[in-house]
């Protein structure tokens, strides 16, 4: 065990793999992922659909589908969540771990008022009495920027706009002062002007509460301005991980570069062809022997197709990557 002076990450994901049985064979949704998040820090997890980012968050929350198999350890404040009994986990969710999902309509109960849903959480987890819980619920709604909170408490989810519903979902997630908040594509279903407001709100509450936060998104634009560290996932693995400014200043992994290049830029002229990534991700039930990105990578050679590059930091500069031909280094060689 580390000494008391060393800061221990609040969350440490250690060699986590998630395997789902399918009719076509085992699907390795998450493949030996290691990640750490400290209190007061925000980690961005970026990747396209099917890269395993959501399954990874489910593994942290211990909300995996029943048939899924989890290997590795999910250490939260020194405890392995994977080995905790169901009841202990239930007590952790809320006061320790909380989550905000993409679609607030599916995470809120449509037949209960907003007030009932927040008050219930406060009563169950914090043991507040009815009047105190109602007062606190209104305070929470005000904190997440909902005008006229007392009236909102009496409304049902369908009476609110998408942005307001997401604010309510955030208020519920924050209600028990969690130490780790997982926001899984929290703004993907929202309009761009509302997205900016919700990301601001999450960032403000994260700082104010000194929470650890994992922001999961498909959008490199979202993580660029709002995270301390970024992990890029491809085909179930973390393929690059670095402090945010360092990642954008000098990405090493060709996939990260290609992903960034494929985003239409506001400052490029109309009708500029986009550097698209040819092909698509490999079938997750048929893992490749080498690098999963090799079939789409313009730098790939035989070594890439035969041997899987490990995630490491060979430059000892704080950027981890899983690539035999990292960018810039390759250019210099």
């Amino acid at each position: 065990m580390s000494g008391p002076l060393l800061s221990r990450p609040l969350l440490s994901v250690e060699g986590v793999s998630v395997t789902l049985p399918t009719p076509r064979g085992d699907l390795r949704a998450v493949d030996t992922v290691d990640l750490q998040v400290e209190a007061g820090r925000t980690l961005g997890v970026v990747g396209e659909s099917g890269c395993g980012k959501t399954m990874l968050s489910r593994a942290v929350l211990q909300l995996l589908p029943k048939r899924a198999r989890l290997d590795g350890r999910v250490m939260f404040d020194g405890r392995d969540l994977a080995s905790l009994p169901r009841e202990a986990l239930r007590k952790l969710r809320g006061p320790e771990l909380a989550v905000v999902f993409q679609d607030p309509m599916t995470s809120l109960n449509p037949v209960l008022t907003i007030g009932t849903q927040i008050v219930e959480t406060l009563q169950v987890h914090l043991g507040l009495g009815g009047a105190a819980a109602t007062r606190r619920a209104a305070e929470l709604l005000a904190e997440v920027g909902i005008p006229a909170p007392e009236q909102r408490l009496r409304q049902y989810p369908h009476q609110l706009s998408g942005g307001m519903r997401q604010r309510v979902a955030i208020a519920i997630a924050l209600s028990c002062e969690p130490r780790l908040l997982i926001a899984d594509e929290p703004t993907t279903a929202l309009d761009v002007t509302v997205q900016a407001q919700i990301l601001d709100l999450l960032a403000r509450e994260q700082r104010r509460r000194h929470m650890a936060m994992i922001l999961i998104t498909h959008d490199l634009g979202v993580v660029a301005g709002r995270t301390d560290e970024v992990a890029v996932m491809y085909a179930g693995r973390v393929v690059e991980r670095a402090p945010t400014p360092r990642l954008f200043a000098g990405m090493r992994m060709p996939y990260t570069e290609a992903l960034l290049a494929a985003i239409p830029k506001l400052d490029s002229a109309p009708h500029t062809p986009l550097p698209a990534i040819a092909g698509r991700p490999p079938d997750p039930t048929r893992p490749l022997p080498g690098c999963s990105f090799a079939p789409r990578c313009r730098y790939a050679d035989d070594r890439c197709r035969e041997a899987k590059p490990p995630l490491g930091d060979p430059e000892r500069a704080g950027t981890l990557y899983a690539c035999w031909h990292p960018l810039e280094l390759a250019a210099r060689a």
Partner: protein, 319 residues
């Protein structure tokens, strides 16, 4: 501008909602020149998709006129409209839902030809092979398969092939890449550009993502709550938006560069309900420049700078 292929005049589309009228599109006028791509942007509920459908008469407008190549579509008899539809095609957001899951890809792509009365089997096969190859699909491999065997990006290629097989003049693309991943999105945007050149298409490109719209459009029209805010040439509008809503949309886009601090509190509140739009300028409740005049008087579209029109009492101009 050269000859207008599509002209929309004072178009209004009304829905009845619980005894009240919802004006999804309210007095919108615009034109698209032959060979041009007009990007239509706005947030959800602004009426951009309804406008696209009203152009095709899939939803009959309650007011105004639509002209296609000089022919008025509004009020055209059903049979004549059916013939006209060969020249106008639509591509949707969800490519998987747009394909019949029980039919083979080859039959799906050939169907418009059958409806159009192309009876020669060999001729149909030839054209199916040609258009599939054009959109980057191998007809030998693809034609016999079913939609579920394909990813979202491949399904969108199939939808594009189906839309192009009758060699239409105008294609309305309604959020054609919103459901796709970043890497696939770029492939489809490039394909649409290539198809536009190859088939000499005119595009009405509807999307909520300004960066996506910029990549393909010659001109941009911005909608808010059923009305046009601003119309202008793409680069000019991005460099110098004159409507405060356009400026707000531009600022809100997350930029993939950590040295650019995200603009904070750019947007005040959320779009109001289209059932109960604000008086005067519909954007005034969220606009930093709004005053009493904006509540009293509906701003009309007028030229603010050369080539750029906006409906605003207090446009963003120098000085």
């Amino acid at each position: 501008m050269s000859e207008a292929l599509l002209e929309v005049e004072n178009l209004t589309v009304e829905y009845a909602v619980g005894g009240r009228s919802l004006f999804a599109v309210s007095d919108v006028s615009l034109s698209v020149a032959r060979g041009e791509t007009l990007g239509l942007v706005g947030e959800s509920g602004c009426g951009k998709s309804t406008l696209g459908r009203a152009v095709l008469q899939l939803r009959r407008p309650t007011g105004g006129k639509v002209f296609f190549d000089g022919t008025e579509l509004t009020g055209l008899a059903a049979e004549k409209m059916r013939l006209m539809r060969r020249r106008l095609q639509l591509i949707f957001q969800d490519p998987i839902a747009s394909l019949n899951p029980r039919r083979r890809i080859g039959d799906i792509v050939a169907e418009p030809l059958i409806i159009a009365g192309v009876t020669d089997r060999a001729e149909r096969d030839r054209r199916v092979r040609e258009v599939m190859t054009a959109v980057g699909l191998d007809p030998e491999v693809v034609a016999g398969r079913l939609p579920h065997e394909f990813s979202g990006g491949q399904c969108q290629r199939i939808c594009i092939a189906r839309a192009l097989i009758l060699e239409p003049e105008l294609v309305i693309c309604d959020e054609p890449v919103s459901a796709l991943d970043v890497s696939i999105r770029a492939q489809i945007l490039n394909l649409l550009e290539e198809m536009k050149r190859r088939y000499g298409l005119t595009l009405l490109f509807i999307a909520h993502d300004l960066a996506v719209v910029k990549a393909v459009s010659d001109r941009i029209a911005v909608m808010y709550l059923g009305k046009l805010c601003e119309v202008g040439p793409t680069e000019q509008l991005f460099a110098r938006p004159v409507h405060p809503y356009t400026a707000l949309l531009l600022e809100a886009i997350p930029v993939p560069d950590p040295t650019v601090r995200p603009a904070t509190n750019v947007a005040v509140g959320e779009p109001p309900s289209p059932l109960d739009p604000p008086s005067g300028c519909r954007f005034r409740t969220r606009c930093p420049r709004a005053d009493a005049r904006c509540a009293a008087e509906v701003p009309v579209l007028r030229e603010i700078v050369v080539g750029q029109v906006a409906a605003c009492h207090h446009p963003l101009t120098e000085g």
